[in-house]
Amino acid sequence: MEHKNKFLRNLFIILVFIFLYLPIAVLVIYSFNKAKTNIVFTGFTTKWYTELFKNRDLLEAFINTIIIAVTSTVTSTVIGTTAAVGLYKYKFLGKNFVNKLLYIPIIIPEIVLGIALLSVYTLMNLNLGMFTLILSHIAFSIPFVITSVRSTLSDTTKKIEEAAEDLGASKFKVFKEITLPLIRPGVISGATLAFTLSMDDVVISYFTAGPGSNTLPLKIYSMIKTGITPDVNALTSLMLLTVIIILTISIIYQSRKIRKKVVA
């Protein structure tokens, strides 16, 4: 009975993962399909991967997407991390108000943030393009980084910082030598989140990109209407492969740490 239960539970977990991975798996499989349409599998080929590196337009879209994700992740992580620490440490006039503002991008529908940013860019006569895209991605990432870092700050952090100050460390030294190492898990997960949100985003990019910009979501959006070529499948597969490699490394690293903790 218990045995059967366990089987059913594992089956459920597996089914959820099949659901989550099915559409990507399909794209990976079709990236090796000889036929140009994603309907019937006619035979194995790797030509779409070589094709991909000839498709300058698609590659450019991909590179732009990466540039946006990296730039916005780095910027929002730096601003978000220092802000989380500052907001935790200091009191100032209007702090409550700023804290409330910071929740807004997390809770309101992305589309509202998207059109609001678009309106303001227009108001300021900013040309829509890479700059506004990066700015927008920074805008919706910062609150997530702050929330993530904030969750690793505690009374203990405060006390340890005081100990460092007491031993002669300046505010900057305290931040660099003590605070930063202590909140590292929060910073890493905040940065990961920012990067993920940026890579995944469609809605905000859609409104703040402008006609000339070429990013992956926009490219694919226009292709869906005309038909997606298999080199997009190849690109998806490569992206997925990269992610899986990075994640496997981090999972191994983390479980080692857990095991080490158990031993100690």
């Binding site: 203990t156 006390k159 340890i160 005081e162 100990a163 460092a164 100050e165 007491d166 031993l167 002669g168 460390a169 300046s170 030294k173 030598e177 003590i178 190492p181 202590l182 100690a264």
Partner: protein, 355 residues
């Protein structure tokens, strides 16, 4: 007279509307072990944090070694703190924890290494240099915190409830060891605690803090034997505190009449008949007997509590309950009649300040 090393002048601290420290004055001598003792919330930790600079002063002055440091940041003050729960740097080894302050003060490497080694030897942590704090026991963490605090050779070390998180046995060991370290180094320790045992064992002087002011500052013995206020008498040790009136005065003696017909003879110190007086009698100061004698008064044993080294009796005298501690109480039991006397040298009369 010893030299004053830390001087607190008219110190006040407000948190919003709450007046935590009220116009406090305190002189702390070079090389002494001074304990700030008081109930939680009395402001003792705030005083310590104002000395270290981690808390800003609302008004008044903090003077360390003749220098006004009131407006100086903690990093630049020549004091160090050992925090409650130690606040060790979890991402650094024992060695790096101790080294941190030396690095911040840019002490030359060879000199620094020597001082770290000395400190590690002093707190008996040899062999643990490369451990991280979470690989150490509570007592070992405590030792790292001490080493980290003393390695800078500052003249004052502040200890904030530093032993509170240790278990009882370890606490006792560390009390003795702390005292030893303090004597060996000859530096001033300012120790904050709410634990009177700790205060009585370790301190040269104890300052009893209540409601943001110093209630009394004295040697442990005087604090216990000659409390100045009801609060001090009650806070330190056990006490029977009774209020009555002077009913008789002669040249050398006086009689204070307490409620329930307890008349006690005390030394006359210019008392007037009719004056209200509060007396304190420690539970171990009673003469107790099952036989009536001159001047004794009768009570009934209401509770008999065996507590190892001593036995605690609660004796009912009409409406008053008296706490009495005895080394040997085998001749009494619950319900037995007892006759009590208090030798006058053991009667503490509050308000006598001429000693």
């Amino acid at each position: 007279m010893k030299r004053v090393l830390v001087e607190l002048k008219n110190l006040s601290k407000k948190f919003g509307k709450e007046h935590v420290i009220k116009d406090l004055n305190l002189d702390i001598y070079e090389g002494e072990f001074l304990t700030l003792l008081g109930p939680s919330g009395c402001g003792k930790t705030t005083i310590l944090r104002m000395i270290s600079g981690l808390e800003k002063v609302t008004s008044g002055k903090v003077i360390i070694d003749g220098k006004d440091v009131t407006d100086i940041v903690p990093a630049k003050r020549e004091v160090n703190t050992i925090f409650q729960n130690f606040a060790l740097f979890p991402h650094m080894t024992v060695w790096d924890n101790i080294d941190f302050g030396l690095k911040m003060h840019k002490v030359p490497r060879t000199e620094a290494d020597k001082r770290i080694k000395d400190a590690i030897n002093l707190v008996k942590l040899k062999g643990f240099e490369n451990r991280k704090p979470d690989e150490l026991s509570g007592g070992q963490q405590q030792r790292v915190a001490i080493a980290r605090g003393i390695v800078l050779n500052h003249k004052v070390l502040l200890l904030d409830e530093s032993l509170a998180s240790l278990d009882l046995k370890l606490k006792r060991e560390m009390q003795i060891e702390l005292k030893k370290i303090q004597k060996q180094l000859g530096i001033t320790f300012i120790y904050v605690t709410h634990d009177q045992d700790e205060a009585l064992t370790m301190s040269d002087r104890i300052a009893i803090i209540n409601n943001g002011t110093v209630e009394q500052i004295d040697t442990p013995e005087n604090i216990y034997r000659k409390p100045h206020t009801k609060f001090v008498a009650d806070f330190i040790g056990e006490a029977n505190i009774l209020t009555g009136k002077i009913t008789k005065v002669s040249e050398n003696e006086a009689v204070v009449s307490l409620p329930d017909n307890m008349d006690l003879t005390i030394d006359n110190k210019n008392y007037q008949v009719g004056e209200e007086k509060t007396v304190v009698i420690r539970p171990e100061c009673f003469d107790i007997s099952s036989i009536e004698s001159l001047d004794s008064f009768k009570g009934v044993v209401k509770e008999y509590i065996y507590d190892g080294m001593i036995t605690k009796l609660i004796v009912q005298k009409d409406n008053t309950e008296l706490r009495i501690n005895l080394m040997d109480a085998s001749s009494f039991k619950e319900g037995s009649d007892v006759y009590l006397k208090v030798p006058k040298k053991y009667i503490i009369v509050l308000g006598d300040k001429n000693e």
